[in-house]
């Protein structure tokens, strides 16, 4: 249970970090952010990166800013930052609600939002949030900057658009309009465990009818995504039990659920139906 030997690099600027990544990325060098996913895999020796590039000392990555309707989350912003009143508006409320479900307090003090995004665990809450809100992942390398929409960023189980020489420098989320209703529900066996499935919904009302609906599912498939089939059921309808049930049914029908040792695909499909309905009912 001891990590294998590695060379340790502690850059203090993004320029320095991407120079190191250009050199060591192709040799399986890895970025070390919060270490809350990477270090366990190194302890098990499932990962034996010969080089670690520790980004914790890069001050320019520590910023969490709001401007022009966009929340920009720097790569060193920890989960715990969202468990406070610093972020305004409906997006702030949503992130505060969601963060309670991520691991435990002493893990949230270290783990980062962007580390979760880069790690792309199918059951990562932040991956589900970026998918639901059509977030953008900002990547830097010596070759330049790329801004990748969440819908293209997540590509499979722990597979993303990040190239080996690229650093996730930030994730961007839109500030939701003040009248946006949001609902988030997940199911896990024990508090703090990775969820078996989760649902995140948002919509607004115009003349009593739902507009701009977003229904995103995480944990059930190889990566989280929005389900247009469920959104189409909601759009233009008045919120209520019957339409919520129909949208939940559409979500369950649209997914291709993963199966694992404890959970069959059929169980996950049922869970998605229930969680989508609950997320819609609890949206406020």
């Amino acid at each position: 249970m001891k990590p294998a030997s590695f060379s340790y690099h502690a850059p203090t600027s993004v320029d320095e970090a991407v120079a190191l990544l250009a050199e060591f990325g192709p040799q399986d060098g890895r970025v070390l952010a919060g270490g809350q996913s990477l270090v366990p895999t190194m302890a098990f020796r499932m990962a034996r990166p010969p080089h670690l590039i520790d980004i914790n000392g890069i001050a320019e990555l520590a910023a969490l800013t709001v401007s022009a309707g966009v929340i920009t989350i720097g790569a060193c912003v920890r989960h715990a930052a969202f468990d406070s009143d610093i972020l305004p508006g409906r997006t702030g409320d949503l992130l505060r609600k969601v963060v309670q479900n991520i691991a435990h307090y002493p893990i949230r003090t270290r783990g980062t939002f962007c580390g979760s995004v880069a790690n792309a665990d199918p059951a990562s809450e932040w991956c589900c949030v970026t998918a639901a809100l059509d977030g953008i992942v900002v990547l830097r390398s010596q070759r330049g900057v790329r801004r990748v929409p969440a819908a293209e960023f997540y590509q499979g189980v722990m597979a993303t658009a990040v190239e080996e020489d690229e650093l996730v420098v930030a994730a961007e989320l839109p500030m939701l309009a003040d009248d946006t209703r949001t609902g988030f529900v997940e199911f896990s066996r024990r508090k703090g465990d990775f969820a078996i499935a989760m649902a995140l919904v948002t919509y607004r009302l115009e003349n009593g009818a739902m507009i701009e609906p977003s229904v995103a599912i995480g944990g059930a498939e190889s990566h989280p995504r929005r389900l247009r089939e469920a959104e189409d059921v909601l759009r233009g309808q008045k919120p209520g039990g019957a339409v919520f049930a129909a949208a939940a049914e559409a979500a369950a029908a649209a997914i291709d659920p993963m199966a694992d040792f404890n959970n069959t695909a059929a169980y996950r499909r049922g869970l998605v139906r229930t969680l989508t309905q609950r997320a819609l009912e609890s949206a406020e």
């Binding site: 001891k2 340790y8 302890a43 098990f44 002493p106 893990i107 270290r110 508090k191 703090g192």
Partner: protein, 168 residues
């Protein structure tokens, strides 16, 4: 060969106010260095992959899993462990409460629970029972069934708050 980036490097850890200068390989976790190189064996190692919380220490007053941080990352930082909880011969109110409520049996998980609970209450003295239970779910105990840990932490919360209110 010298100067390789995987070679031991000199770091300075302040543990409960005592400065330790040690040379460690980057691959060594903070908990291993606290125990093996600095001789502070109060902090325990359970799972070594972030699940049990036995290794919880405070780094710059933030609680974290010291098995998931490399010691080189803590260079120059201020670390608090269970050895630093008491003042002179007087136990910390959290330690007193653990004794009073029989909140430990084998004691293996205890240092982690003490540091977790103290950190949480130093930051937010008003945490209620429900919030404390949520925070305590971070760590595992194989003996007590948790009930007495919850009781002890709630009692200590009141004691710590009373001390806080009494101090000018």
């Amino acid at each position: 060969m010298s100067g390789r980036t995987s070679d031991p490097r000199e770091i300075t850890l302040s543990i409960n106010g005592t400065v330790h200068k040690v040379a460690v390989e980057p691959r060594r976790t903070l908990v291993d260095v606290i125990r093996d190189d600095c001789g502070q064996t109060g902090t325990h190692i359970g799972c070594e992959h972030g699940v049990c919380g036995a290794c919880t220490v405070l780094v710059d007053d933030e609680p974290l899993r010291s098995c998931l941080m490399f010691a080189v990352q803590a260079d120059g930082r201020s670390i608090r462990t269970v050895e630093g909880l008491q003042t002179g011969d007087a136990l910390h109110p959290m330690q007193e409460a653990f004794m009073r409520y029989h909140a430990l049996q084998c004691g293996f998980c205890t240092p982690g629970f003490l540091m977790l609970a103290v950190a949480a209450l130093e930051k937010r003295p008003d945490l209620n029972r429900e919030e404390l239970v949520d925070i305590l779910s971070s760590n595992l105990c194989r003996c007590t069934g948790y009930e007495n840990i919850v009781k002890a932490v709630c009692a200590a919360a009141a004691d710590m708050k009373a001390n806080l209110d009494a101090s000018p």
